[in-house]
């Protein structure tokens, strides 16, 4: 019995440490965003302070483009996610249900091609994209982000669809359902959790990505992380409070999103959903 309690204690000790490790830096930034400039740098750091919204006010007046940045991030994240979801569902299904040498080869191509550092890919991409006049559009970032995450999403969906019994489809096929009908009526509803799991990575990536956005956008499609970086690298000195406020605003929606879907992430990556 004593051993059991020890295990439980150990369990919660590990979890407690993990929570502290994950949450503390975030807590510091969020709480600092409600502090005055002078409180932010008080030594030792103040846990009790009078909260102020000044930083947020200042952010909106000095950096009005931050809101546009958030909107652009939203459009691009939504687009990239939809695109990734659609194409990886198709590919994931093919990899799960069919076998051929060509498919195996293409699966390895998918991983291989991802090994080149994205940074270096931008050098030739810049003139090409400019020539196509796709610079500073949402579309180019959508396609780029999707391209960099379809490998992972396809893999997750393949593993997920592997768990969906073929018998379900075979039954439908006997009743004369076409492939597309099976995909939409059987696979799609059953793989919602898998889709969420496969997409959460591209959602988070698209929301936070910096390098491609820096290189391929200028104003119309400028994303929030770019504005964030600009605030943190200002010639006139960093307005720390404003930076923390911007970081908090940029973090909040994605954090809420992750909170809402965390259940599905896990079930999506496991077979549980199908059985239940």
């Amino acid at each position: 019995m004593a051993e059991r309690y020890l295990t439980i204690a150990l369990r919660f000790f590990i979890i407690g440490l993990g929570v502290l490790w994950s949450a503390f830096p975030i807590y510091m930034v969020v709480s600092s965003s409600f502090k005055t400039h002078i409180d932010i740098f008080a030594v030792p750091s103040k846990f009790l302070f009078t909260p102020t919204l000044d930083n947020y006010r200042q952010l909106l007046s000095d950096w009005p483009e931050f809101l546009d940045g958030l909107l652009n991030s939203l459009i691009i994240t939504t687009g990239a996610t939809l695109l990734t979801a659609i194409v990886s569902l198709l590919a994931g299904y093919a990899y799960s249900r069919y076998q051929s040498r060509m498919l195996t080869a293409s699966a390895f191509f998918m991983i291989l091609v991802r090994m080149l550092p994205p940074l270096v890919v931008t050098i030739p991409l810049f003139p090409i994209i400019n020539w196509l006049e796709l610079n500073d559009t949402h579309a180019i970032l959508i396609v780029l982000y999707a391209a960099f995450f379809v490998s992972l999403s396809t893999w997750i969906l393949k593993t997920f669809i592997d768990q969906i019994p073929r018998e379900l489809e075979e039954a439908a096929e006997v009743e004369g359902a076409s492939l597309m009908q099976r995909l939409i009526k059987i696979i799609l509803p059953l793989s919602v959790h898998g889709m969420v799991a496969a997409c959460v990575f591209v959602v988070v990536f698209s929301w936070n990505e910096y390098m491609f956005a820096l290189i391929f956008t200028s104003s119309a499609a400028k994303t929030a992380p770019l504005v964030l970086a600009e605030i943190s690298g200002s010639l006139e000195g960093v307005q720390w409070g404003v930076l923390f406020a911007a970081a908090t605003l940029q973090l909040a929606p994605i954090l809420i999103f992750v909170l809402l879907v965390q259940k599905y992430i896990v079930t999506g990556l496991t077979a549980g959903a199908v059985k239940g």
Binding site: I38, I86, D136, S178, S219, S234, L235, Q239
Partner: protein
């Protein structure tokens, strides 16, 4: 098949939606002039303190100015890439002297013809040194807009606390810096002197204050291993080891200097005059109005100089060769560099490139350091020339200086190594 087309339709409408959004945003202004620069350029041209002269110009001409602002490194990276394309939407770009490239003729429009047909008011007043730095094969490529010249900033509250006087020679600066490096009762450390960075720019300031030394002249005479540079590096090493320079100097960013000065953790700093505003910013600083900015005093052994011939750096405006509206871009530049607008920009916080701007009564009234800055400007020089290897040279210098500060190399070994490594990188 019906479902297939539904999926396709859904996908297409997504893309169409995105495309429509793009269109609606880019069609917002009928005629736009696109400027690539740093946020500070936008603020100094559009702030209401001195006057939004760029906005007025835009209204008069029925155009909209689209500002694309980035941080310093990214401004250049972006501008040069855009200017190397077959076409670009960028009409005006800002670049700083340290980033100038010999490839400018392939990227930017020569401005001599524009200058002849539609001259800038009082052009002769613009500093020749700046114009020379942008002249390649006898053709001028840029018009200077902003200068940043180094000052000595002193927190007078800390000075009074320790009962010290404002230093008048460089030797006294070092003494005061040492006296102002101490640990407070609550454990906070105060550092006597802050330097902006570890690049040749900051170290050359010390070399010039001590002995009018030079690292690399505008005509590419490299004197990294000169006794003057070695002595300057020695000074920096001593200050670092004695805890006068912050411990974090090895990963310092310019932003950190501002934070340290505002919090009273830095007592003095050698940085551009314009920072005075940030150090004294009542919203952020714990010492508003207490930080004064004076010319960096020269060493008592340095004859012929009352103030040290510190660095001056500048930003200039360029027109990409592939811009589709060069006449309008020129008109924008012309307007921004007129004598009156130079003063307005200065009141907005810009470093005015016209010496006459300092004679305007509005300047002395608004800027406590206007006279001091004018004095320094008469002797200040650029820290190093810009060419295609200048970023590499700066990285080499920082690397070797770090080795000195870490105690791995002596200043002499390090500077000899800089001399050796930089020599092959100089233009022929």
């Amino acid at each position: 098949m019906k479902h297939k087309s539904k999926i396709m339709l859904a996908g297409l409408s997504c893309l169409a939606g995105v495309a429509a959004l793009n269109l609606s945003i880019s069609q917002a202004g009928a005629e736009t002039l696109t400027a690539v620069g740093h946020k500070v350029h936008q603020t100094t041209m559009t702030s209401d303190v001195g006057g939004n002269f760029a906005g007025e110009w835009a209204e008069k001409n029925g155009v909209e100015i689209e500002w694309l602002t980035f941080n310093t490194g990214a401004v250049h990276e972006r501008l040069y890439r855009e200017a190397s394309l077959s076409s670009t939407s960028v009409d005006v770009g800002f670049a700083a002297n340290r980033f100038f490239l010999p490839q400018f003729p392939a990227m930017f429009e020569p401005l001599d013809d524009y200058l002849a047909s539609n001259p800038i008011e009082g052009f002769d007043e613009l500093p020749k040194g700046m114009l020379d730095a942008m002249t390649i094969d006898g053709k001028l490529y840029g018009i200077p807009y902003r200068h940043a010249t180094a000052a000595l900033h002193i927190n007078t509250a800390l000075l009074e606390e320790k009962g010290l006087e404002v230093p008048t020679t460089f030797e006294e600066v070092l003494d005061v810096a040492r006296a102002l490096s101490f640990t407070r009762d609550d454990g906070t450390k105060v550092y006597g002197l802050m330097l902006d960075d570890r690049t040749p720019t900051s170290i050359t300031d010390i070399a010039r204050a001590q002995s009018n030394g030079e690292f690399l002249t505008q005509d590419f005479k490299l004197t990294a291993s000169s006794p003057e540079m070695i002595a300057a590096v020695q000074t920096v090493q001593d200050l670092y080891n004695e805890g006068v320079l912050p411990e974090t100097y090895l990963s310092f960013l310019t932003e950190d200097v501002i934070t340290f000065m505002q919090q009273g953790r830095g007592a003095m700093a050698i940085s551009p005059f314009g920072r005075n505003k940030n150090y004294n910013n009542p919203d952020e600083s714990q010492f508003p109005g207490k930080i004064i900015s004076i010319p960096l005093p020269a060493s008592e052994t340095l004859t012929g100089f009352k103030v040290a011939p510190v660095r001056t750096e500048f930003w200039a405006m360029f027109i990409p060769k592939n811009s589709d509206d060069k006449d309008r871009a020129w008109d924008f530049i012309r307007n921004a560099s007129s004598p009156e607008n130079t003063i307005k920009a200065a009141l907005n916080g810009n470093g005015p490139v016209r010496p006459s701007a300092y004679d305007d009564p509005r300047m002395a009234e608004r800027l406590s350091y206007a006279e001091a800055e004018q004095t320094v400007l008469s002797v200040a020089r650029p820290p190093l020339p810009g060419w295609d290897n200048s970023a590499r040279v700066q990285d080499i210098f920082v690397e070797e200086l770090d080795l000195v500060l870490l105690g791995i190399k002596t200043p002499e070994e390090a500077m000899n190594s800089v001399q050796e490594r930089v020599t092959p990188l100089l233009p022929e």
